[in-house]
């Protein structure tokens, strides 16, 4: 009986490894991708007239979320790739996920370094230091909310976050760099050998579907509005006469 229990556990582990983990990785990579894109948008606003205490806090929170996703992703992907028993197609797929992951992390690392630089150059509390009048004046709270996957952002930081956070940022940058170097050492993946699944112009397809969907919804709503107006007018005409 204990033997079969062990066999069950092993099979369970095998299923988890070969089916659950890749899917989890893909989901986490999508999330990491989203956070990286939002982080870049936030860093672009640094130093400009949309810079504020809130932006600094948004950057901090987004960054931390990105790091959590990165660490989780890295553990799973590294163990998937270290497994020598997987098939060739599986390995190719994991290598593709690996390239996605490392490209995201490259982007994130550069943006973190730049945000440190710009954050140091543009402290918020110094009155003689002016922000660049770029024409952007709105807040970035919706972008941050998208990154954190919440409805509304809550702001709870101190007023000196623009200087206090920089130290944390420095240590986080070192952590990320170290993680990337460790990853490259542990996993033998040749990134240039990976074949992408998307073709040129792939970005147009799903977006057009999205827009088309939106347009069709608009059309349907418009149709109903016109029907309603027609009904109301008809009723009034009937009432008048």
């Amino acid at each position: 009986k204990p033997l079969s229990a062990l066999a069950c556990a092993q099979e369970g582990a095998w299923i988890e490894r070969n089916f659950l983990w890749p899917e989890e990785c893909k989901t986490m990579l999508d999330a990491l991708n989203k956070v990286t894109a939002c982080y870049r948008h936030l860093v672009i606003a640094l130093g400009s007239t949309s810079d504020s205490q809130n932006l600094r806090e948004e950057l901090k929170k987004t960054r931390k979320k990105a790091q959590e996703l990165a660490v989780a992703n890295r553990t799973k992907l590294t163990s998937l790739l270290k497994d020598k028993t997987i098939s060739k197609e599986d390995r190719a797929e994991y290598e593709r996920l690996w390239v996605l992951f490392s490209s995201s992390m490259d982007l994130l690392e550069v943006d973190m370094k730049r945000s440190l630089e710009i954050g140091q150059d543009f402290p918020l509390k110094v009155p003689t230091r002016h922000l660049i009048q770029t024409g952007m004046t709105g807040s970035t709270t919706t972008v941050a909310a998208r990154a954190m996957s919440v409805q509304n952002m809550k702001y709870e930081a101190d007023s000196n976050i623009d200087t206090a956070d920089l130290r944390d940022l420095q240590s986080e940058i070192t952590q990320v760099s170290q993680m990337m170097e460790e990853m490259e050492m542990k996993v033998q993946v040749a990134p240039w050998a990976v074949e992408a699944k998307q073709e040129a112009g792939a970005e147009l397809k799903s977006n057009m579907k999205e827009d088309a969907g939106f347009a069709s919804i608009c059309a349907v709503v418009g149709f109903f509005v016109i029907i309603t107006v027609a009904v109301v007018l008809g009723y009034l005409v009937v009432n008048m006469s």
Binding site: N33, R114, I132, Q133
Partner: protein
Amino acid sequence: MTIRNTLRDHGQRYRPRMACLKKAEKMLLEMQDPDTGVKSQPQRLVITTIPHAITGEDIVAWLADRFQVDTQEARSFGSMLVALGYIYPLQDHKRLVIKPDASLYRFQTPYFWPTQQWPVEDTDYAIYLAKRNIRKKGILEIHEQEQYNRLHKWMNHKWDFIVMQAKEQYRAAKERKKPDRVVFDCQERAYWVVHRPPPGTVSGMDYGLDRRVDPNADEVTGERREIIVLHILSCSLVKYCATYHSHDPFLSKCLPSNPWQTDDNTYWTLNMHNVEIPTKMRVERWTFSFRELLSDPRGRDDFRLFLKKEFSGENLAFWEGCEDLKWGTATQMKEKAEQIYKTFLARGAPRWINIDGKTMEITVSGLRHPHRYVLDPAQTHIYMLMKKDSYGRYLKSPVFKDTQKKAVCPEEHKFSDAQLEQNARNRRPSLSPIILRQQEQEQRAKMAANAPVDITQVMSKLSKQGKDGKELPPSRRTSKT
């Protein structure tokens, strides 16, 4: 702690420091001052109003006032800021110049400022093009489409990432309000116009080659020896500049006129390789150094004439032979080396050169396995010989003085605007380099055929005559070994 961007660049290439960037940034910050900076106004678009637009004339006026310069210089200064990407035009976005009228400009956000340590990545450009593809629904400009296809080919392994990231960035941008979205699009577009210029324009950020040393690394403190070396180098640099100042067409007038400016070829025809009468400026350059004399073909001709009179032409001929070996084709190297040995170095050779025993030993042993630089020691020896001995005498010789007297000093051209246009219309291409090379080879063959008589031949002839009882001419001053 210094944050270094190597992004795991194991080739360790560093971008050179562009000192102007930090200075431009300081100025940008001054421009932001609400009291003393540049006045901004709102830009009215169809539905939205976007603040912080500045006019070209305001920028130029502010620069002229701040640096106390005239309008022309302030304009070039402003154009430099636009070319580097600190300010971008809102209308006519592809032309990166300051128009000193009511055209509108805006300041670029610090993330998109040009920097020395952050190289502009192709990945980012690919993401931008993918986003633009989404926005323009597949209709990109021609050069953008070409770049897109090229990047799709070369970055194919990252393409999934690029598509995913482009879509996410596009959706994230939509989260902002309309005016900010418009500004962001303009900013990003302006950034890529600077760093991936459309065809027919140049990027203000072209910097040439990468450096081997990181310019951001901690500087090493100079030792005393280094300071002395620097002092010597700077003195020689100053001396060089002073000597060549009047000969530099950028710094002084070019007589008769600079062909690049007036489209008149007289300057080039007067300074051709085999011209009979050289210009005075050219002859003056021959007096600067021996290297100048040898590198000018007309100067070399003159020197050759002088040496012929002195019966030491074999030195120059040997030197030229060595140059021919060094720069010639590899297939003919062996034959050339043999020819040179037979003509100049072998015992009893017709044009025997006088080099010291040690150099001769090295050269002869090297010639057993000839290569391009096998004659270098001998060539250097002969070069120094000519420089120390013959060159000084040449400058005092009647040959040189004659050439100097005959040298022509052309009158300066004074073209009117109509004549300049005429010149521009009459521009013709010069002789093809193939024809020039053929002419050179013909001339060389002719010279080889009428090789001048050297002292050894004369001596050998005279010694034969001497056997018949004739007197020997007085021995010429032999060069010291």
